[in-house]
């Protein structure tokens, strides 16, 4: 079992409607919308918040130490306010930090915030700036890569790979259509797959525009409370933070698709698979597909989403492709993935990895509305992605874990 000094529950969530353009608000005003919704959702007032954790990627908006300006809207005035930032994983790191601030006994009620206003900068240029200036900055194109596609194609053949990726994308879009907060909703259907494979503009290699995540303006907020405070805050059922695992890796992206070896000479794995191995073993989950009810995955592209099903669920061979081909990952399927529509639909980057556990919490509460999975949800998995192929994997539960 994961160790924890005291249990922590999610008692409130809020998010903006996500959009390609929010010229009507500045950065603190955008954040404020999500914060206000989360506090209202928890049935709390601002004075009940003991501390704030916030995060974004400042090069997207070009604001140094943005937590300073954010005070105008984020509710942190007069409170401890921690800012963590780890690239795409930022929202998940915010989640982990808020959980630990509560579990440590330092604070009883912590507000966690992720936001991004992609419209204010250039998303791909901002990501490219992560590359080392001496040997990689001139080469990188943000998070756009066709390498994940190349992997799937080489393993399963061009036609099956392309169809599976597009099928994955259509399922995500069908989910997004059910989510009023989702940014991109195209009303795609399976009969459009052939057309999309031909006509969607290519970005990088086999990665086409339709496969790639959106660039959104949006914010998300979650409120974490100590277990012994939950009884007095029971406006909505609590969702328990059962566990989380963070796995980063070194700065080169060049390992993608290429075998390297660890110090013991073992074939190296992916951060997705490593995080899943640790988290699932620690929580005695042998068969994730059967024991976990829903998965909100940070899927930056349809190709990555497709591949990572195998890693996160510790599958082998083509089981992940079969899951997509059979429709298992649909909202009414055997193992729903991203009933919210996921990241290909909605991607305010500093919020994205927080929106995953936020949506998972809504599913456990039964509060996801039109994109609620139509069966009881007791355990939910959520993931964050960022940096040089980094992973944060989070496990949420309807039942209080006995750690």
């Amino acid at each position: 079992m994961p160790r924890k000094t005291r249990p922590v529950a999610i008692v409130g969530v809020g998010q903006t409607r996500h959009s390609s353009h929010r010229e009507d608000v500045n950065q603190p005003e955008l954040v404020h919308e999500a914060v206000r919704l989360a506090i209202d959702d928890a049935g709390l007032s601002l004075s009940d918040i003991d501390a704030v954790v916030t995060g974004n990627m400042e090069m997207f908006e070009g604001t140094h130490q943005p937590d300073m300006w954010q005070v105008l809207g984020n509710g942190a005035w007069g409170k401890p306010c921690l800012r963590v930032s780890t690239g795409g994983t930022t929202g998940s790191t915010v989640f982990c930090a808020a959980d630990q601030l509560v579990a440590s006994g330092l604070h009883d009620v912590v507000l966690a915030i992720g936001f991004e206003k992609q419209q204010e900068g250039h998303t791909t240029g901002g990501i490219t700036a992560m590359a080392d200036p001496l040997w990689a900055r001139h080469l990188q194109t943000g998070a756009l890569t066709g390498m994940a596609a190349l992997e799937v194609i080489d393993e399963f053949g061009l036609d099956r790979a392309r169809r599976a990726a597009m099928r994955y994308r259509v399922i995500m879009d069908q989910h997004a259509a059910k989510n009023p907060n989702a940014h991109r909703r195209f009303n795609l259907s399976f009969d459009m797959i052939d057309d999309l494979m031909q006509k969607s503009p290519p970005l990088v290699g086999e990665l086409r525009l339709i496969h790639m995540c959106s660039q959104s303006d949006g914010a998300g907020a979650m409120i974490f409370a100590a277990g012994d405070r939950v009884a007095s805050l029971n406006r909505r059922p609590p969702v328990w933070v059962q566990d989380h695992v963070t796995v980063h890796r070194e700065e080169t992206l060049a390992l993608a698709g290429v075998a390297t070896y660890d110090a013991q000479g073992r074939l190296e794995t992916t951060t997705q698979r490593r995080a899943a191995e640790i988290l699932l073993a620690r929580n005695n989950i042998d068969k994730p597909v059967e024991e976990i009810d829903v998965f909100e995955m940070y899927d930056p592209s349809a190709w990555w989403g497709l591949s990572w099903i195998r890693d996160f669920l510790l599958l082998e061979g083509d089981e992940h492709l079969q899951m997509v081909e059979r429709g298992d990952i649909g909202i009414e399927g055997r193992f729903p993935i991203n009933p919210s529509g996921g990241v290909t639909a909605t991607n305010p980057i500093g919020a994205t990895a927080l929106l995953r556990p936020l949506e998972a919490a809504l599913q456990i509460r039964g509060d996801a509305g039109t994109h609620q999975v139509p069966r009881p949800i007791r355990k939910a998995l959520a993931s964050g992605f960022g940096g040089t192929l980094w992973t944060v994997l989070m496990l949420l539960s309807k039942d209080q874990p006995n750690n």
Partner: protein
């Protein structure tokens, strides 16, 4: 009269952020870049514990967490392990200006490197029908007198025709 309602006109301001930079190479990257400039050689550093190569060389072996200060020459030829052909134009943070497309990048396992790590560089071929993993490629250096001790002292990698 004070405004009774909020503005319908939404003000915006465009801005090019620009910061001068002084990037240190450090001894390890410095040695690598100088070897490109002065000798047209590609140096990897080698982990004293696991024997893995890293190219470009970095201060430590990420896996073994030990300093890796020994070097050996790798390349200039190698095997294409993965590649990207980029059609989407985006700003280069080195200039702020948009890049010209298409361009291609390659992950090359350089001859002589150990442990499977690949070297990332530009690839002089954007016709995807000509690209597949396993192709033999080689580094093409900038001519004498034009090399500055930068990664771009290798102009690009090109496919070795008839290579296997």
């Amino acid at each position: 009269m004070p405004p009774k309602k909020l503005s319908d006109e939404l003000v915006h301001r465009e801005h090019m952020a620009r910061f001068p930079q002084r990037w240190s190479t450090g001894p390890v990257m410095g040695k690598f870049l100088q070897a490109l400039r002065d000798e047209k050689r590609i140096l990897a550093n080698v982990c004293p514990r696991c024997g893995r190569s890293q190219v470009p060389p970095r201060e430590v072996c990420a896996v073994c967490r030990v300093e890796a200060m020994q070097f050996e020459e790798v390349g200039p030829a190698g095997t294409l392990r993965s590649f990207d052909v980029v059609f989407y134009a985006s700003p280069d943070p080195v200039t702020g200006q948009s890049r010209e497309v298409p361009y291609a990048t390659a992950y090359v396992e350089l001859d002589g490197s150990k442990g499977g790590a690949t070297f990332w560089h530009e690839l002089h071929e954007t016709d995807m029908s000509k690209l597949r993993r396993g192709l033999r490629v080689r580094a093409v250096f900038e001519e004498d007198g034009k090399r500055t001790g930068a990664i771009t002292d290798i102009k690009y990698f090109e496919i070795i025709e008839g290579g296997t």
